[in-house]
Amino acid sequence: MITEQQFTNIYNLHASKVHRLCLGYASGDNEIAKEWCQEAFIKVWKYRKSFKGKSSIETWIFRIAVNVCLGDLRKTKKNITVNDGLLPNNNNDDDNDDDNDDDNDNNESNIKKMYHCIDKLNEQNRALILLELENIPQTTIAETVGIAHGTLRTRLSRIRKSLLKCIKNGK
């Protein structure tokens, strides 16, 4: 069974990834993402006795996190407002020039577009790409979502292409 110390280690290792996964599901709404992230880890602690080690602890945590996000009854926001705190840091040093400002503006706009495009994906594809963007190993992603590894690779490449197209064209 997971002890308090082990839980702390697990939390420190996975919290930021789980949080960003939730952010993708919450269309960039940091408050909702924080709530879901917390709820996922509360369940990890509450049901730690249920973890039998059939899959890795990482897979189990991501399964819980994805399912927590999936099962929330709140209406999806139509207008996506990405929290400013999540956008790349705008505090440039004095010697930074206008090019940096332009780059930052461009990145901000692309991140907003990315959330908008992720929001358009179906539930399963959204989970797949969010886990992939967090550099989760593909075997873990396949186990988390419940699809074959071969299918996953094909699907991911298709999702990446459609996301890129959407970010570029806004469709």
Binding site: E4, K34, K43, W45, K46, I64, L70, G85, N135, L163
Partner: protein, 182 residues
Amino acid sequence: MENDQLTELWEMQANDSSNFNPKDIITKAKKQRNSQYISITVMSLTVVVLFIYTFYYAFNHWNTFNLGLTLMITSLTFRIILEFYSLYRKEKQLISMAQKSYFAYLKKYYKARQIINFAVTPICIAVYIFGFYLLLPYFKDYFSKGFYTYILISGIFSLIGVSAIIIKSIIKEKRFLKQLLS
């Protein structure tokens, strides 16, 4: 923008996980657990008291008052137990299923909830109201006119309040099911 740039862009976001303290999470989890235990204990005690009352007292002095009271308590208890059970099962599936299976389960779950919302709950409310109606003549005899009116009005308002809460949750669940099926 190439494939790798998608990952680059994603990683460019400031890492604001606003980390909670793991100890706080454990405390919250324990609190949730305790409140669940308290709710289950209260419910179990209510059921036990109801059974004791019905078998050792009410059956010996059976009248419409006892019938009304029993109908009210059993319909309420049944509905609450059903609610706890369905929430418990949903939580069990959440922690054990992969996303694909859980998604399919959620569709089934909210379809079943529609049956509960549109068939079981109205029956429970009707039984509850009927039980309350059976008690009214006794209240009229035993209590003053003012207090009787108070019981009647507060009973009606409580029912309206509970119905409003139920309707709100039905609308929410219907909308979510529609979202899942789309």
